[in-house]
Amino acid sequence: MSLSAATRSETTKLLTTAMWWVLAIVLVAYIGFTAAGLGFVFSASAAGDLPGQSHQAGLPTGDAAPVLYSIAASIGYVFPLLIGTLMVTAEFRHHTLTPTFLATPRRGRVLWAKAFVGIGVGVVYAVLALIAAVGPSAGFLAGFGQDTGLDHSDTWAMLGRIVIAFALWVLVGIGVGTLVRNQVAAVVIVLAFTQFVEPIARVAGMFVDGLDSILRFLPAAASDALVGTSIYTATTRPTSSATPLDWWAGGVVLLAYAIVLIVLGHLTSWRRDVD
């Protein structure tokens, strides 16, 4: 059947289990809570309302809004990555690839359909994440009399780039899921890499000269580059000479991750015998 039929089917498939909304709830709660907390601290700090405040840790007040808003991506990117992974590994886990491939024997088409649906759900997650991040942050900023930045086109451009980043992250997740197959292993890999490996590497990059130039090509770093702002880069001023990638370059790097993973997965795993 046609690609549109396969895409419709994949959409139904995604929306008829609890996975997507459970992840969405966690996403909103996690990002909302973080944004609220940091929003309060940043706003209060910028307004000089925090007790015992000694301005040295103060953030450039002008940057507070974008940094807070970008929490959606810099912290929340694991969610689109997870949903993308689960979209594929769930099929392996529950043996639903059998009916899937019976209905759509052209397997590449199934993968394309998943990619399209993944982009869609990435956008939806991005919107949810942005609401969760921008809402509390802007509220606190406004409450403390700070600039919310919502009247700047730059801010909206960044929000748009966050949407793109989410979509790309879902694609990366699909690639990981296709390649790894085992759901538990895939989730563990995703969490370990995003929560431990890469953050630690990026911290290490702050102390090792030259490492930055390599680390900026890590997926999360590329994602931050695409978004243009990040709680990581904002709080940990890189001392090295390496400059972050341009936003478009970051996007390209992230897209390259997605494509390479998906293609590899397709070649090595997706075409295998289904049992």
Binding site: M1, S2, A5, A6, R8, S9, T12, K13, T16, T17, A18, M19, A90, H94, H95, T96, L97, T98, P99, T100, F101, L102, A103, T104, P105, R106, R271, D273, V274, D275
Partner: protein, 576 residues
């Protein structure tokens, strides 16, 4: 559960969009290798529309792999499987062309049945209205909104069928579809599949139990070890010459006279007279013409389950499967030998018998061999009663045993692996009235009247080939009154059976191969097998049924052979 038979009424057939066309399924040199294991080996077969085709084979025979290759889920190592000449992956509308029921577990437990079908419907461009129809067809409409995780195996099986029927396909491929279904569900499934086939669709269902599909399928595809061993109608499974008519009358003398007058060759068993002619009506006419009232008139043949088992184990080769015949020939003799071994005759016996047979078409000659073959040489010599009696008891016994034993035993043994066969095996034994057969089989030499009686008759017939009937009748008089129908299968084991089993299990070590082809080898009309033993002439049914009778019947056969040498020759020719 809320399954109801009446659900059948809303079958998809009512809602067909266009008449679905049954397609020919074709396997051409299909092979699949998993590492060093060859799961499917050069399978070439055809499945025609308009009938239910059973795809049989023991566990691990490659059924599922074959079906998965047909459905494009597994890539063949070589060869190809096509649907109407097209590989599955190239089908324009796969779900509307082929409906498949594979494993019952391929559902996301958190998704409802209706949603699962909706996913498939959308992928195939089917209207979502089909979802409700399909669920109604399989009786799941009431639970359509429940998550599949809460479904029983039977419900999942039905849901799988709903998936298959979703596109109202012309081809249905089902892998063990009745697993997990309750008896009611099985009956329902059978009716549904037959109806679908009747509509001209192609229905291919796999199973490892012949008995499971016997009542459903019209045609069979049997594989073993990845190779095709049989292909054809279920009626082709057994050679017509393996069938015989069992006839009996209260006035047996009159009946035998009538048969003799009509020049109908017959053999005498305790259970009646056996005529090696499947034409029941003709026999009935003979009796009617002679004014003999019959008490029994029945067509008998080997149980399909046994034939299936033999095919699967290579004891029997069917021409529909292009396989070397050599294997069978070798196997069959071995089986007979096993019997002999039991009687202490050792392998040579059968060889001798075989030779004798070959050499001696004439009745008299033929007999001796028969004698040698089973009783062990001792009995023969003393063709007269006196001799037979002393020795006969022992000698006679062995005979009965061998035949029945192998039959009874053989099956149980192989059975360990597969329960199904055990059932058949027990059935075999069971038929024999416990009192008689067992004693004989076991070895009660003289104690029992029958055994004693037998030895003599047997001896006599052999010695005096010409005057069989009278004596035999007496001997045989004690036989079971009722003969099981052709398809009888499930019977209980009696204590005697168990004893017999135990006895013969002691020979297991040496018998394994033979054990498997019990009846076929020992007494059956099997193609390859009979070379050695005349059994060919004898309908398998008897052999299976009567423990002693077999032994006796062999003698009778000899006698029979004597009177109708041409039969033997004929058989020999055919079978070889």
């Amino acid at each position: 559960m809320t399954f109801r038979q009446d659900r059948e009424d809303d079958c998809p057939r009512d809602e067909r969009f266009g008449m679905p066309e049954g397609q020919v399924l074709e396997f051409a040199g299909l092979s699949k290798r998993f590492g060093s294991v060859i799961a499917v080996d050069g399978l070439t077969a055809r499945v025609e529309p308009g009938s239910v085709t059973g795809f049989l084979g023991p566990n691990g025979a490659g059924k599922t792999t074959t079906l998965r290759m047909l459905l494009g889920l597994v890539r063949p190592s070589s060869g190809q499987a096509t649907i109407g000449g097209v590989p599955y992956a190239k089908l324009d509308n796969p779900l509307q062309t082929v409906g498949a029921v594979l494993e019952a577990s391929s559902f996301h437990p958190g998704r409802t049945a209706a949603h699962h079908l909706k996913v498939l419907a959308q992928a195939s461009g089917l209207p979502t209205a089909r979802v409700d129809q399909a669920l109604g067809t399989v009786g799941l409409a009431d639970v359509a909104g429940r998550k599949v995780g809460g479904y029983s195996l039977g419900m999942r099986q039905r849901l799988g069928l709903a998936c298959a029927l979703l596109g109202d396909p012309g081809v249905l491929v089902l892998d063990e579809p009745v697993n997990g279904l309750d008896p009611e569900g099985i009956t329902w499934m059978r009716g549904l599949l037959q109806e679908l086939a009747r509509q001209g669709r192609t229905v291919l269902m796999s199973s490892h139990l012949l008995s499971e599909v016997q009542q459903t399928v019209d045609r069979l595809l049997i594989i073993s070890g990845g190779r095709l061993v049989f292909q054809g109608g279920i009626e082709d499974l057994v050679d017509p010459t393996e069938y015989a008519t069992v006839v009996d009358a209260p006035d047996r003398a009159a009946l035998t006279a009538a048969l003799e007058n009509a020049h109908v060759p017959y053999e005498v068993l305790r259970s009646g007279l056996t005529v090696r002619d499947p034409d029941v009506a003709a026999i009935g006419r003979v009796a009617a013409d002679a004014g003999v009232a019959l008490s029994l008139l029945q067509r008998r043949g080997p149980a399909l389950e046994e034939v299936f088992f033999e095919l699967v184990n290579g004891m029997r080769v069917h021409p529909s499967a292009a396989a070397p015949q050599a294997g069978v020939d070798a196997a069959a003799p071995a089986a007979t030998e096993g019997v002999d071994a039991a009687a202490a005759a050792a392998t040579t016996g059968s060889d001798a018998a075989a030779e004798a047979q070959a050499v001696a078409p004439p009745p008299e000659d033929a007999e001796p061999p028969a004698g040698d073959e089973e009783p062990a040489s001792t009995e023969k010599p003393g063709g007269d009663e006196p001799a037979p009696e002393p020795a006969p008891a022992p000698a006679a016994e062995p005979e009965p045993e061998p035949a029945p034993a192998p039959a009874a035993e053989a099956e149980p043994e192989p059975a360990p692996g597969t329960a199904s066969f055990a059932v058949a095996a027990t059935g075999v034994i069971d038929i024999i009235p416990s009192a008689e057969p067992e004693p004989d089989a076991e070895s009660a030499p003289a104690a029992e009247p029958e055994p004693d009686a037998k030895p003599e008759p047997e001896a006599e017939p052999e010695a005096e080939s010409t005057e069989p009937s009278a004596d035999r009748n007496e001997v045989i008089a004690g036989e079971p009154e009722e003969l099981p129908p052709d398809d009888w299968r499930h019977e209980e084991k009696t204590q005697a059976d168990l004893d017999a089993d135990a006895f013969f299990h002691s020979f297991d070590g040496s018998e394994t191969s033979e054990a498997e082809s019990p009846e076929a080898a020992t007494s059956d009309a099997e193609p390859a097998a009979d070379a050695p033993a005349e059994p060919a002439t004898e309908p398998e049914g008897e052999a299976q049924t009567d423990a002693e009778p077999d032994a006796a019947s062999d003698d009778e056969k000899a006698a029979d052979a004597a009177s109708h040498p041409e039969d033997d020759a004929h058989d020999g020719g055919d079978r070889q």
